[in-house]
Symmetry: C2
């Protein structure tokens, strides 16, 4: 004991000496004499990551306190950070374009779609059958047509392809938000719940196909190639084909991979092989001309719990993949949403017509999904609840919009600041109104 | 049930159709028409990450099977991937320089040092008292002098600073490897175990100070400034000063941060705030002219379990920080070691004298640490066991060497291919011989 206490006293003296030395050393001659050995670009990355993580959590907590979805808070934190220039503070402007941070965000969105894929499963997708498929098809087509109409009315002089792209951002229901609300109300297994979840999964896939088609047509038009029906059919075939091959070959690959990994000694096999699998399928999707997120979703869809039971049994805490992925997505997914928010240019709202465009786009998004009610077959189902449950757009709409920002048509960005700002408003409003509306309808039933 | 089965049949047909569509779509006209919308640089990143993760685990598993440390297997996998050019395969050459992958590796090594810091604690550091400090000081000084001597004898025409840098790579004992061997033998709390672990922590800090001093002197010399004793003293003061301030202010900051975070609603607070804290202190270390890893270690050292008890209690599984960080480091730490291995140029061994240099450097590393035995005060302690326990160099030696590769002196890299190859051999051999030697000595006692 004496030795311990003596050690502590020594250590305290050492602190004091150190603090004094630190204060003494603060001469300008010393300004970063050793910076040469830090990988030169890591410091901005570290600062940006620390700031983004804290802002995301603060924004999320603030929204959570008012019973609003966390994801909106992260988005709002990003909008705030990205628009400090409006009040004259430009210290963070460089943060928007740190390529490493963007890469982290991209990996984050892969993790998100991988987890959505893991949470969905092919059996459930099939079990809800025809109703879910019809709901999904109507829920993709009607909002897309309405979005096309709104865009045509507001954005003059743009190519029809741009209008179709705007329509495409209205297609996909956010599985995450819907699932969370249904879970909170313990209605996940109700008939309405199963139809909504099944349809949300299917319309994710349909939305990704729509995205592939529209993006492909834009890329073709941009390269000066003509719009041709064969090309369209081939793109659709390719998109469905990739998913089909990914599903069939991916199930086999997943089973084989984890059976092999289970024979290897050592720890941490489950996370590494699951991530490698996700990255590989995402890479293949990209090579096949689809967005890498399609691959990540497919990887999650085909990876089933039974494939890795042997590996899970070896884990000291018997953690499943979702539990292991949670810290990874907890780190990187907020980076994606904060960066998404940061790319919203609030100054765009000053442009005449943007607010009206955003309002009509949001209306198209909400009303368009009410067509889903017509897709429900048989009786005893609360059709309005299904329509309301399909409203939230969330992350997929934002991902579509962010992809649109990387596409150009006749030298202009397909998703310009106006469209992007309007899509963010649409996502925010649809995400915001769904929880109260769905709670009201389901509690009433 | 009928509906489910019908759904499955439909789904199977859908697969078949999809596969056919996929096969039909494989025309050259379709080659990646949609690639425009994938963030253009993500595909190489995804491919590299998938390959690195799998190779790391395969290498680790192979070494584990022969009862060798996993980290060596990851290194070996990297050496293999990085030297496929020797057998005429250059397909992976571009992988070495994907900046995003390098950034992931850098974040990985931060996680590693953060976890080492978390595993150490200031109380234990103080409790082992004078013995550990003496053991650490001897274990830093003697290998450094021997390394300087070996480098002087072998590397003709180099600046003395280069020789000191080579000496510096021999200083730091790998806490991780030592701790793992002691834990496997259940000797962590024995008197020898506590002295070794305490000394390993202290010599990490001493090693980082030595690194800061030598790097600072090299940077000064490179900028044409003279070697001056005041500059040396100031660098030492600054290095100790940063750690002192980080320890005193960091403990307070950590307590305040997590007390604040505990009041915020929402999930995932613990991981986000811990990572933000780690990134912030690493950033500050970098801004103070130290390596960011020093900051990550300091962040782990001051972050104590009690600071986040309230947050941990809220977690559904009551996970501590180490458990939450495990998937993150499981993902990124192997990336660091594989990249380290990839930067070993096997062709360097063809240069006359490299093997002799590597052998003598390894000998200096092993014998130098036996001086530690003289630092143990009092009786009843197995001094040889302490000396053997201090042998493994592991990650810190590699980190030093990788930092040396970024430093130049008179237009040449301080750590050239020869030195780097020799350091890797030294790390591999010291890491390899310690487990059997320590097991032999402690079982005998």
């Amino acid at each position: 004991m004496h030795r311990i206490r003596k050690g502590r006293v020594e250590l305290r003296c050492w602190y004091l000496g150190a603090v004094v030395a630190w204060l003494l050393s603060a001469g300008p001659a010393l300004a970063a004499p050793v910076t040469g050995h830090a990988a030169p670009d890591m410091l901005p990355v570290l600062a940006a990551l620390a700031l983004i993580l804290v802002s995301a959590r603060l924004g999320g907590a603030l929204f959570e306190r008012f019973q609003l979805p966390t994801v909106l808070g992260e988005l709002a934190a990003g909008v705030l950070l990205g628009n400090l220039g409006l009040v004259g503070f430009h210290g963070l402007d460089s943060m928007r374009t740190v390529p490493t941070v963007e890469a982290f965000a991209q990996i984050g969105v892969l993790f998100l779609l991988f987890q959505v894929g893991l949470a969905s499963d092919i059996g459930k997708l099939a079990a809800v059958g025809l109703s879910a498929t019809l709901v999904a098809v109507l829920g993709v087509m009607v909002p897309m047509l309405l979005g096309f109409g709104v865009s045509t009315a507001f954005l003059h002089g743009q190519s029809p392809l741009t209008h179709w792209f705007v329509g495409a951002t209205l297609t996909a229901t956010s599985v995450g938000i819907t699932a969370r609300v249904l879970g909170d109300l313990k209605r996940t297994t109700s008939i309405e719940g199963r139809i909504i979840l099944g349809a949300a999964v299917i319309d994710d896939v349909l939305g990704l196909i729509v995205l592939a088609v529209v993006s492909g047509l834009i890329a073709a038009a941009n390269a000066g190639r003509a719009f041709d029906a064969t090309g369209l059919a081939l793109i659709v075939a390719k998109a469905i084909g990739f998913l089909g091959v990914a599903v069939v070959a991916g199930r086999w690959l997943s089973r084989v991979t984890f059976r092999f990994a289970a024979r290897l000694p050592g720890e941490g096999m489950l996370v590494s092989f699951a991530l490698a699998f996700c990255f590989l399928v995402s890479f293949l999707a990209g090579r096949a001309g689809l967005a890498p997120i399609v691959g990540a979703f497919a990887a999650g869809l085909v990876l089933e719990d039974v494939h890795y039971q042997a590996l899970r049994a070896r884990d000291a805490k018997k953690r499943d993949l979702n539990e292991l992925l949670e810290p990874l997505s907890g780190f990187l997914v907020p980076v994606f949403f904060v960066l998404m928010g940061m790319s919203v240019n609030l100054a765009a709202f000053a442009t005449p017509g943007v607010l009206g465009f955003a309002a009509l786009l949001t209306l198209a998004a909400v009303l368009g999904k009410q067509a889903c009610a017509a897709g429900v077959l048989g009786g005893g189902v609360d059709r309005l609840a299904v329509g309301l449950g399909m409203i939230p757009r969330g992350e997929v709409g934002l991902i579509f919009a962010s992809i649109g920002r990387t596409l150009t048509l006749n030298g202009e960005r397909v998703v310009n600041d106006t469209v992007y700002a309007a899509v963010v408003v649409m996502v925010a409003v649809t995400t915001l109104v769904t929880p109260p509306l769905l709670v009201w309808r389901l509690r009433r039933g």
